[in-house]
Symmetry: C2
Subunit: 142 residues, 2 copies
Amino acid sequence: MISYLEKFKEYLKSKGLKFTPERKIILEEVFLIHTHFDSEILYKKICGRTKKISRATIYRTLPLLTDSELIKEVLQQNGRAYYEHIFGHGHHDHLLCVKCGRVIEFYNKNIEKLQERICNEYDFSPTDHKLGIRGYCKKCKK
Amino acid sequence: MISYLEKFKEYLKSKGLKFTPERKIILEEVFLIHTHFDSEILYKKICGRTKKISRATIYRTLPLLTDSELIKEVLQQNGRAYYEHIFGHGHHDHLLCVKCGRVIEFYNKNIEKLQERICNEYDFSPTDHKLGIRGYCKKCKK
DNA sequence: GTTTTAATTGAGAATCATTCTCAATTAGAA
DNA sequence: TTCTAATTGAGAATGATTCTCAATTAAAAC
Ligand SMILES: [Mn+2]
Ligand SMILES: [Mn+2]
Ligand SMILES: [Zn+2]
Ligand SMILES: [Zn+2]
């Protein structure tokens, strides 16, 4: 049971990068947030909770966390990139309510299998995928 | 068999908007392009082929074409939005090669059905969806 | 056809997320 | 402790997209 902290440290070491206090703070904040977040949400939470870290550093760290498979970019909306932490969580896809913004996560093994089959057909070697279904949630469909 | 031109005209009329020469040119160019395109590609093709239309007008027209279901935003990459025309074409999803950029279109009825089932489970009323599988295409997997 | 008016256009400014620059700092190997 | 390449913060730069506004025009009403 390797921790996200160890995983990040190993990743950094493997790339000849340093484990800095700023990176530690960002990493920890990312795993305190249990919803989708963008760089600004992260920036404000860190400023409020710990110490000020520049936006530049946050923007520089997000790709490191993505490369090390600790977080994932889940969607782009209004020109902003949204992320979620994925370490310790199973893969899932999303239902997105276009009215209230609610996000529902789901997982369907058969869809995953069918995707594999399609990749085989096209001789395509998948690394990851995103399935987002937009529409109206229970409450918003009236 | 209504044409895309008629469909756009009807949409504009229904919204109290005008059918202008600029909108006609943009519409026609969009249906001459049979790949994914962004605003810049569209801008340059129009400048080269017909007459100069300002970027502002192109940016203002793309949402009209989207709302009228003539085109669809297929993905966002490098901060740019990519579209494809969908009028007259069946729904499909995409395999995206992360190395060479190749885009493969596919359609799988069973995946579509499973999505409907999931929406039912969550009492969710879908409007549209996007499934993008990233990875390495036949040529790039070596 | 003429009038009327709200919609549209182009040019450039503004916005805003993200990236870049660079001087000062620092992690971590030796 | 020393050494050096990596990192940081502040602010400038970038670049896609949106906005502003004066001049133009589609098309409804006459
Ligand atoms: Mn999620
Ligand atoms: Mn396509
Ligand atoms: Zn909702
Ligand atoms: Zn390829």
